[in-house]
Structures are given as C-alpha cells and as structure tokens.
Subunit: 208 residues, 2 copies
Amino acid sequence: MKISELSDRSGLTVQTIKFYLREGLMPKGAATGATRAEYGDGHLERLRLIRAMREVGDLPVFAIKRIIAAADEPEVGLHELLGTVQYALGPHVDAPADDPQWRAARADVDALIAELGWRVTADAPARDLLAQTFVALRKLGFPVVLTELRPYIEAAMSLGEHEAGGLSTDEPRTRAIHRTLVTTVLYEQVLLALHRLAREHESARRLG
Amino acid sequence: MKISELSDRSGLTVQTIKFYLREGLMPKGAATGATRAEYGDGHLERLRLIRAMREVGDLPVFAIKRIIAAADEPEVGLHELLGTVQYALGPHVDAPADDPQWRAARADVDALIAELGWRVTADAPARDLLAQTFVALRKLGFPVVLTELRPYIEAAMSLGEHEAGGLSTDEPRTRAIHRTLVTTVLYEQVLLALHRLAREHESARRLG
DNA sequence: ACTATTGGATAGTGTTGATATCCAAGGATG
DNA sequence: CATCCTTGGATATCAACACTATCCAATAGT
C-alpha cells in the first residue's frame, strides 16, 4: 500500500509516519521507483504497536525504538525481551550514590527482594523505582513498614504468576512477542486504571 | 529561614524554588524587608511534597498546583480530595466521540463498573484510561475478556479496601490529607515497581 | 501534458520545566 | 562606612521531546 493509505489506516499523519521511519522505528517501504514505495501489513501492524506504546503506555520514542529493536532480534528470548522492555520503561532515576538515605532505601529494597526469594537482576530499574518511593515516603514522614507493603506484594505476586502463565503456551513467536509487550505495557495501564477505580469506590463507600 | 537555607534543606536550587513560587505552588515567604523574606517549616514540607509528586509521581507542575489548591481548601473532604487528585493524575485522553471503537470500549467499561457495583463518578478519568487500553488491545488483536481481567479486578479491589481502611483513623486533618496524597501518588508507584519485580521473577522462574 | 503524490531533506513549532542573567535594594562584615 | 553578598523580582534563555511544515525534484496516474 502507499504511504497515504498507511496513514489513513493507521490514523497517523504521513508526516508522523515519515518521522517514525526517520527515527528507525520501522523499516522503509520497498522502493518501487525513485518516488514510490510499497508498504505491507507488517508496517500497519507495527504502527499500531507503536501507537499503543506511545499513547497508552506513554513511552518515549527512543524507548520504543529499543524495545522494537529487541523484538526484531531473532535470537532474543521472551525473558530477555521482558528485561529489555522493563529497562526501557524506566524510570532512569539518577541515583545519588553518596546520599545515605538513598543507599539505605536501596539496601532495604534489595533485602526485601532477597527475602521474598525473587529472581530479579541487580540492575532492574524497578529496584530504583521502589527505592525512590521509599526515600520520598520517609522524607514525608511515612515510614515504610512491611505490614503496609504486604498487600501490594501479594497483589504483585498474584498478578505476576497470572501473567507468566499466559506465556507458556506455544503460540507463534511473533504472537508471543506481541503478547509480552502488550502484557507489560498495556496491562500495566489496566491495573492502574482498575486500581484507581477501586480506590474511588471504596472511598465513596466509606466517606461519601 | 532564608531562601538559600530552604534551598539547602530541600535539595532544590533557589531558581527552582523561585519558579515554584511564581507558579503559585507555594505562598511567598513573609517579607521582612524589600529584599528579604522569611520561610518556615511549612514551606520546607510543601517543597518535599512537591518534589515527591514531581519526581516520583511524575506529575506536571500544573497538576500539582491543582492538587495543592484542593488540599489547602479547608472545606474539602478527603473523598473530594481524592477525586481532585485522580482527576489531576489524568490522563486527559482526548476521546474521539465519533469513533465507534471508542464508544464500544467506553460502554464496556461503564458496564463493567456497573456490574461490579462500584461507586465511581461518571467523569472519572480512569474510565477513559481503561477504555483507551481496551481500544488499543483490540486493535492489536488481543480482545479483552473478563477472565483475563478478573485477576486485575481482584487485585485492585483488595488494594482499594486496604487503602481506604487506612483513612478511617482520626488523625489530624493535615496528616490525613498528606496520607491521601501519598497513598494515591506514591503507593501507586510502589505497586508499579513491585508488579514489575514480580513479573520479572516469575518470568525468570519459568523461562530463565 | 498536466496534476497530484512521493521520498528525502531541512527547518520550524509548541509545550514543559527549569536555568541563567540582570538589576536595584538591602543586609552583613571588617 | 565601604565593600561585598544575598535577595526579590523580572525577563530571557535553554534543552528535551514529538511532532509539523515546507520545499524540491522525480515520478505516477489520467
């Protein structure tokens, strides 16, 4: 199909598609002349994926590029892909290595993960994300205690198990890759939304 | 204290504090002369809150301003405050009212909330957030089925109950307000981080 | 032949969240 | 009391990000 058709079907402007091509988020169309190129269904699918990650997942273009590069790599396994995606999700918090509060929080996070017996790489950004919240919570006078954390841990474990279960089927590789990306990026938003809705509901029930 | 001291103690530059003052995130210090003003502990506390919402919650300055304005209002109740915070959290997705896919997804969301018996205002942004993910999931060929949603709903309900329980104590109003903000903004990140960690763990356990 | 579209390149826009600079006035210090 | 430092206040500038606009020459379609 022509780029204008790709634009119509994807809901993105031609300019934006050109921009994504320039940024290397997609391969160029097959040139059929100096001023013509042919795009296929793969391009459309790719644009849908990019759009979902941008608009729903709110990922920066650069992160999407890295994710797509990993997903296109034929040798990469699903677990490795998940790592790449989570790393791209960030946040890449600039950890002040000299701040004692930060070091303490980070140590607490590492200890917690060890205690739970979780197999998580040492440089997983989620460790920093959690440590960052611990620091902020403490600075605001809300010390982080395990009993307060427990419900979150249990919810996380339960969801983690459920999501990992969805991967064990033997679907085609492309599909499995898409499922990994979708689960990681989109279902995170689903959880976010449902959590907020449930919170409003409970608040209304008790205070409204 | 002087603004330079406030800067030292908050970890923000004088420039940034001035910027926040300009933006109306904080009242000005009490002027003790044409070129001097005195800041109190309230200012420091306020800056810590702003910093947590900006750096951990990744909220835009404008959203923080609205949240703080609501929190400063003496008449506003905790449930009302929660609504304001959630509204400020967004995302303010520009819903294309004419898109049939969108309408269908939004109807599904409304039906789900009704079926669950949740008391959630009709204009809660989380409804749109959820609908948005439904649209994206469907476009990518991952239809949203209730069985897939169930674990997320249960996790959300369980956390919602837990969090609402923390509000029923009779602490001082300022503290309760802070607790509402902190729970909403910071524990959301805690859940996010733990979810990612659990996901990586389960993935490692089965595929690693 | 003529109009519209394309690929490719380059430049510009709008938003956000700071930073930088400047100035005059007012303390603080020796 | 002279000199330097800091402050408030205003204005300007910057950097990142994700587009968006414009231009051009070469076609493709009619």
